[in-house]
């Protein structure tokens, strides 16, 4: 299948690149509908308070204000997967994002001004901002909708996993090390701020939403539940999305609020976040405190891992509470390990709630895991590279959790970055003087073939060829900038011999496109790619029949190239569009159209969280060189060597984009990004003090794809999107510890933290 590929594996630019760079792409923020109103949301002034009264009279009377709503004006259900989140808050507020009222007005300025006219009387409460405090008996109940299924009122979610004989494995361990790691709250900083435009048609009672969701079909269901509507009366259109990274997996209150304003006014309403609002009210990565104990025997074989994680759930539950699904994979199955015991708690507090974010818990887990490996290697006197190679995962392995590694490039990834970084040659790095150099390693394991966590992990595709020879792919999958449209077009081009400029990808309308679970879990190229290949196979059967008839040959002889179907044997060919016209217009008449639904042959995990949850697994290793300035504490990330098992390179240009972007997010997580809170309030809701890195900070990235050709993936490809970010912070921390011969247990490694460590000399 892989020989002589004309499109696959070639560096085609994104098919939407021109639109994006010339500014003609229509993002949600650009939409203007006739007669549209502008919505704005009043959020609480205090993170924890009782609401004594809300007076909207002055706001309602203000010229240009069309509607003001509070919880009293709406009949809705709670949102979030635990249904513990009221859309508009009544009686009390529990985090600084809380929505109290919303305004629809003729202009955005009027809407914002009207918010200042709403008078709210609060009875301020202390609030609880530390999850350990929230678990105490005398702590007040934070979320009154909590299920209370565990033995503590403020416990939102609990996970337990284990495999192997922990005691036996401890007994054979030569080293056992325990640490507590503290991982910060960071956010996605999508270029496009959150936005929604809602249009409720009073006549047919149908709701049209222009939404940047990553999961349009789940979203349709969720918003219908929230608004007590029929899902089929809601149509979701995804405009060009200005960044997702997981932030648009949950539905948030502003979305049904916008719909409610439209339902109330009968006019289209748009809500756009300002950057400050984006920082305050859009989701974050989960902050975590990870207690971990790990062991290895005297030859350096990993024996066991025991993990206990405290997650600050914030006031409401988002998908972020389920990140242990992914963390359990890393802890149980990254490197071979005889026994693993994992516990995590998500605890309600009056902090903001976290959502999902590229890597979904894996960067945190990998950080803890990879730091421990360095500590164990040091103690055992084993080389840090060698110990990793020794324990690397292997093809054919079935892990303690039941993951099947039918292909596995882990070892090759490690060996690649070890050799490319010339690690063995650079042992004599500068460890004295002002500038100190260090190198650190980390690996990662992530799902690479979807993840079966809903009833279906499938994706539908309809493909058609029009009478002019143009191909239209209608896919259930969504594009959030990652380039899946382009990869799908390349697959169709490859299989049907149609040039890229003649292929259109339709993927943005729930009334048109077939079901798909959404863009997450690095799944789109794998799942939507396979789905498309299935549809193409059916379509080709139809085309073959007609072409073979016209060319007077049999199917096996037909080849699709440059807009033609060729018969090799007969030495004849016919234009593809002509075949399509023949199909359409000559009796009995048939459409050149086919549909296919692909469901990966992965499994739901059982009650013990065991089972082969993905169709394929991706591996990666990174070796990172840093220079630390001991005068200022600044860390300069110099070189990042990254080898990633991608199965097969579908498009090297787009792949490099994922790798580089992911690594930069990882560097930010490691050294500069952190949302700073004081008693539930965000102190740095701006790019001035929330420091994402800039073009000038980019390290040299040396990327080496590893191709393991997974037969389940399209052309052998696996998911790649989340992987590049996952091991980066771990590798950087390992490199900094190496450079300074000091230990760090929290991120980010800000210059000040480095200086404190140097001053206090907290050596290992």
């Amino acid at each position: 299948m892989n020989e002589d590929l004309e499109f696959i594996g070639k560096p085609f630019p994104k098919i939407d690149a021109r639109m994006r760079v010339t500014g003609t792409a229509v993002y949600g923020n650009d939409i203007i509908l006739p007669n549209m109103l502008y919505g704005a949301i009043l959020r609480t002034a205090y993170p924890s308070a009782l609401i004594e009264s809300i007076d909207i009279s002055a706001a309602s009377k203000f010229p240009g204000v069309v509607s003001v709503i509070t919880a009293d004006d709406v009949d809705v259900n709670n949102i979030s997967y635990k249904r513990d989140h009221p859309i508009l808050k009544k009686g009390e507020v529990n985090c600084i994002r809380d929505e109290i009222a919303a305004v629809a007005a003729e202009s955005i300025e009027i809407a914002r001004h009207a918010l200042t006219l709403i008078k709210v009387r609060y009875k301020v409460r202390q609030g609880i901002y530390d999850p350990y405090e929230a678990l105490k008996d005398n702590a007040p109940l934070i979320n009154k909708y909590a299920e209370n299924k565990y033995n503590n009122k403020n416990l939102a979610e609990v996970f337990h996993y284990e495999h192997g004989d922990l005691t036996a494995q401890k007994n054979i361990s030569k080293v056992i090390i325990s640490r507590r790691f503290n991982l910060p709250r960071v956010t996605h900083t999508c270029l496009g701020t959150s936005n929604i435009t809602a249009h409720f048609n009073k006549t047919d009672k149908k709701l049209l939403l222009y939404s940047s969701t990553q999961v349009p079909f789940l979203y349709q269901r969720d918003i219908a539940h929230a608004l007590k509507m029929n899902p089929s009366d809601i149509r979701i259109i995804q405009p060009v999305i200005g960044g997702g990274f997981g932030s648009k997996l949950d539905m948030y209150p502003f979305e049904p609020i916008c719909a409610l304003l439209s339902i109330k006014t009968g006019r289209p309403v748009q809500i756009l976040y300002s950057r400050e609002e984006e920082f305050i009210a859009s989701p974050t990565r989960q902050p975590m405190i990870i207690d971990i104990t790990t062991g290895a025997d005297k030859s350096g074989n990993f024996t066991f891992r025991e993990i206990n994680i405290m997650k600050d759930n914030g006031a409401y539950t988002s998908w972020g509470a389920t990140t242990p699904f992914v963390m359990m994979q890393a802890f149980s199955s990254l490197y071979k390990v005889g026994a693993c015991s994992f516990d995590s708690k998500a605890v309600y507090t009056n902090n903001v709630f976290a959502g999902s974010f590229r890597g979904y818990g894996n960067p945190q887990a990998t950080f803890a895991l990879e730091r421990m490996i360095d500590l164990m290697a040091d103690k055992l006197g084993i080389d840090k590279a060698d110990i990793r190679v020794k324990n690397a995962n292997q093809k054919g392995e079935i892990t303690g959790q039941g993951l099947h590694y039918d292909t596995c490039g882990h070892r090759e990834c490690l060996e690649t970055v070890i050799s490319k970084s010339e690690y063995k040659k650079i042992q004599s790095l500068n460890k004295k003087g002002r500038y100190r150099h260090g190198i650190g390693f980390a690996s990662m394991l992530h799902v690479g073939g979807g993840a079966k966590i809903y009833r279906s992990d499938g994706c539908g595709t309809t493909i058609k060829i029009d009478p002019y020879g143009f191909c239209i792919i209608i896919t259930g999958s969504s594009e959030i900038g990652q380039g899946s449209e382009t990869v799908l077009a390349m697959i169709a081009a490859e299989e049907l011999g149609i040039e890229l400029s003649r292929i259109k990808v339709i993927n943005s309308d729930t009334d048109v496109k077939p079901w798909d679970v959404g863009v997450h879990a690095s799944r789109t190229s794998f799942v939507a790619g396979n789905s498309l290949l299935g549809a193409i196979a059916i379509l080709k059967e139809k085309l073959n029949k007609k072409a073979a008839f016209i060319l007077n040959t049999d199917f096996s002889d037909l080849q699709y190239k440059k807009g033609k179907i060729n018969s090799i044997k007969e030495g004849k060919s016919i234009d593809l569009d002509k075949v399509v016209r023949e199909m359409h217009f000559s009796p009995p008449g048939e459409l050149a159209i086919a549909s296919y639904f692909y469901e990966p042959d992965s499994h739901f995990q059982d009650k013990e969280f065991k089972g082969n949850v993905s169709g394929s697994y991706a591996f990666a290793a990174q070796a990172i060189k840093v220079e630390v300035d001991t005068y200022t504490g600044n860390i300069k990330v110099i070189d990042v060597y990254v080898a990633q098992d991608v199965g097969k390179v579908l498009n090297p240009l787009l792949l490099a984009g994922q790798i580089e972007g992911g690594i930069l997010q990882g560097v930010g997580y490691a050294i500069s990004e952190e949302l700073l809170f004081e008693k539930g309030r965000l102190l740095n809701p701006d790019f001035h003090n929330y420091k994402i890195l800039t073009a000038s900070d980019i390290p040299d990235i040396h990327f080496f794809p590893v191709e393991t050709n997974d037969k389940r993936g399209p052309y052998g490809a696996k998911g790649v999107g989340e992987a590049p970010l996952i091991p980066t912070a771990a590798a950087i921390a390992n490199a900094v510890c190496d450079a300074l011969n000091l230990e760090f247990v929290e991120l980010p490694l800000t210059p000040e933290r480095v200086m404190i460590a140097l001053r206090e000399n907290i050596s290992i």
Binding site: R434, T632, L683, H688, N689, T750, E752
Partner: protein, 294 residues
């Protein structure tokens, strides 16, 4: 956000008329707006007028000119113009480096030197370099007369200058290097988390001139983001006079750094603690004497 009306005089003469006409009204000057708009976004001021300096055509107000005793830089000169000026690059590396370290190309293309000074931020990078260079400010009054003030005296506190509300900063004067100076050791050290779009957590500007015997004959050092205003560290400068940059002992470096740090009275804020600022200031002060002078 404050709403404002904007008035754009085209000449200095028109500028005077506009200022006079505004009289006691609430008005501000606008140059590159990179500070002003951020400030106005955070508050609501009633009936604000902005007198836009960006359209004023006046060659003294916008360009860089060499005079007999030094360099004249118009207040409306953009930071990018400073970066690309060869004389500045050659004679006053500290100014070149401070300008290059400011924000990003986009911001440098609109931000002005006058705006950097008049904002009077303790972390103003270009201002810090100018203090180390003993620059002076030429202030223009509505009656058309001017007065010269040393830049050190110009800063009264964070966001406070000695400009009267109807006065405009017109030009900046940088005295030329000493005739007997044969080499300058000059640079700008900016401490922050990232390489661009960074506001100095602490900064140090130095401009040290040596004669042909490698003896230091004049030294200018200033520290930024370490006290309510940018400080000229006079005793550290005096400390260096007559020393030779080569072969400075460890203890002299320490003594020098101590002489710099006494001028620091930093605050703790989101970006760094006072402790960090002092600690790092001490280290980077020492580093000034560690590099080989050119």
């Amino acid at each position: 956000m404050t709403d404002f009306e904007i008035i754009s005089p085209a000449t200095i003469k028109e500028l005077f008329i506009v200022i006079k006409k505004c009289g006691k009204d609430n008005f501000r000057f606008g140059a590159g707006y990179t500070d002003l708009l951020n400030e106005l976004r955070k508050k609501t001021e009633p009936e604000l007028k902005i007198i836009n300096l960006a359209q004023v055509k006046d060659s003294q107000f916008t360009g860089i000119k060499t005079g007999i005793r030094g360099l004249w830089i118009g207040a409306m000169t953009t930071i990018q113009q400073l970066v690309s000026n060869q004389i500045i690059n050659r004679e006053f590396p500290v100014l070149h480096q401070s300008a290059s370290s400011l924000a990003s190309t986009q911001v440098r293309n609109v931000a002005t030197i006058g705006g950097n000074i008049c904002t009077a931020s303790p972390s103003g990078d270009v201002s810090c370099a100018l203090v180390s260079l003993n620059a002076s400010c030429e202030i223009l009054r509505v009656d058309g007369r001017t007065r010269m003030i040393s830049i050190q005296d110009f800063f009264l506190g964070p966001r406070k200058t000695l400009l009267n509300r109807d006065e405009v900063l017109y030009r900046i004067f940088i005295p030329q290097n000493k005739p007997t100076s044969v080499s300058v050791h000059s640079g700008f050290i900016k401490v922050g988390t990232r390489q661009s779009m960074e506001c100095s957590v602490v900064s140090l500007a130095f401009h040290i001139q040596s004669d042909k015997k490698s003896k230091i004959i004049k030294a200018g050092l200033a520290i930024g983001a370490a006290s309510p205003t940018i400080r000229f560290t006079e005793s550290a400068c005096n400390f260096l006079i007559d020393k030779t940059l080569k072969n400075i002992s460890e203890s002299i470096k320490d003594e020098f750094a101590e002489n710099v740090v006494v001028y620091a009275s930093p605050i703790s804020d989101l970006r760094a603690s006072a402790w960090y600022r002092k600690e790092v200031l001490y280290n980077i002060s020492k580093s000034v004497l560690e590099v080989n002078p050119s």
